[in-house]
């Protein structure tokens, strides 16, 4: 019985606090994405404009987003019968977008970021955090 109560409390905390944190994070992501929308980030290696370059720099950024107990339970239950693990979709989405946003924030004053690559790796695999590493080349045109 005590185990059951503990489980329900953990799931409850995970759901209510986790949802609030997630909402807040998405709000911040959308706001910052809007602010940085004028800095292009492309996966291509060629410049879009034929202009002289003053500086090119390797930049990278990463973000680690942790899961909550509710999501872990949801994914665990999904494990029994199979199917899409929608519980972890927002986690990956947040990590990826946050990493690209940080990349843009790091490349302040750049005109374009070329050769964007995004990778993920597993840290804290047991607890289920999602990590995204974004890197690319920031290009500064000659003014």
């Amino acid at each position: 019985m005590a185990d059951l109560i503990q489980l329900i409390v953990l799931i409850g905390i995970g759901y209510f606090i986790g949802t609030r944190v997630e909402k807040k994070h998405y709000k911040s992501i959308e706001q910052r994405e809007g602010k940085l929308i004028h800095l292009p980030v492309v996966s291509g290696e060629d410049l879009l404009e034929d202009r002289e370059i003053s500086e090119a720099q390797l930049i990278y950024a990463n973000a680690v987003i942790s899961t909550d107990y509710f999501k872990v339970m949801l994914a665990g239950l999904r494990n029994f019968i199979g199917g899409e693990v929608s519980a972890f979709e927002t986690l990956l989405d947040r990590a990826r977008r946050e990493a690209v946003l940080r990349l843009k924030e790091k490349a302040q004053g750049a005109d374009i970021i070329l050769n964007l690559r995004i990778e993920t790796c597993t840290i804290m695999s047991k607890l289920g955090s999602s990590e995204a590493l974004a890197y690319g080349t920031a290009i500064y045109y000659k003014k």
């Binding site: 879009l48 404009e49 339970m73 239950l77 999904r78 029994f80 019968i81 519980a87």
Partner: protein
């Protein structure tokens, strides 16, 4: 080529399903699955339990008795064993086990019939008992379970349940833990009709042994008095003593015209071991 920034409004990477709905849907589906498997395996156990040979049961019983075994039976154990031996002398058609009493320290008022002829009596039951007859009733009742081979069925169901839970939640619990759990769950699985059948067997055996059925109702009445206070928790009780059982006992006494004789007093732990 000119870069034109464009805002993307819909996010294809996130499913539009609600996680709460998803959660409850999964819980219901999985619980349904567990229930189906549990019921099915229960039928399997009911089918297998009466067909388990005496030899297999003795082997299985060793698993339990090795956990309970002490070098020497303590004084109270010997006292209770003596009552059991008296009963055994007068019993017929019991499976040919080596019937042994184990007294376990516990605050539960209860006794268990384990495979292979082990009977575990909790100390609190002996402390509460005022007469040898009351203890004889409990022992005869457990012998009734052996006679009807309920104890295997009860254990079987709980073993099935343990198998399911270990398959779902991992089996980090050690084997002894599993056995202990099976032990404490064993007596939970008896149905009311199984209990009543064991009661009637006990009554008959009591009459054969002592020539009367003294103490038969005393014990169950005492229990049902206690249970009244906790009637709300009735369904949670592992070994309920409902008034209906007392009633059934009284009726059986009337029908078979058993005599209710004198109680033989019993005192718990007279000689310090």
């Amino acid at each position: 080529m000119k870069f034109i920034p464009k805002e993307i409004n819909n996010n294809v990477n996130i499913s539009p399903t609600s996680p709460v709905k998803d959660f409850f849907e999964l819980v219901i589906k999985i619980l349904g699955l567990i229930l189906a498997v549990y019921v099915l395996l229960g039928f399997v156990v009911d089918y297998i339990a009466p067909r388990i040979s005496i030899k297999t049961e003795v082997d299985l019983g060793r698993l339990f008795s090795s956990r309970l075994e002490r070098k020497k039976q303590v004084y109270t154990e010997l006292q209770v064993q003596q009552i059991l031996d008296e009963l055994l002398k007068n019993s017929q058609n019991l499976p040919p086990f080596n019937y042994r009493v184990y007294v376990e320290e516990s605050r539960d008022i209860n006794a268990l019939a384990l495979p292979g002829g082990s009977i575990v009596v909790f100390s609190e039951l002996l402390k509460q008992a005022r007469s040898r007859n009351e203890i004889a009733v409990v022992l005869a009742h457990e012998l009734g379970h052996f006679y009807h081979r309920d104890h295997l069925r009860g254990l079987g169901r709980s073993l099935v349940f343990l198998l399911i839970s270990s398959a779902l939640f991992g089996s980090d619990s050690s084997a002894s833990k599993v056995i202990t759990n099976a032990m404490t769950n064993a007596e939970m699985r008896f149905s009311q009709s199984q209990e009543k059948a064991a009661d009637l067997y006990a009554l008959d055996l009591l009459n054969k042994t002592y020539g009367n059925v003294a103490g038969a109702i005393d014990f169950f009445e005492k229990m049902s008095e206690k249970e009244k206070l906790w009637s709300f928790f009735y369904i949670f009780a592992s070994h309920p003593y409902p008034e209906s059982r007392v009633k059934a006992l009284k009726e059986a006494i009337k029908i078979n015209s058993y005599t209710i004789g004198q109680n033989i007093p019993f005192e718990y732990g007279q000689k310090n071991e």
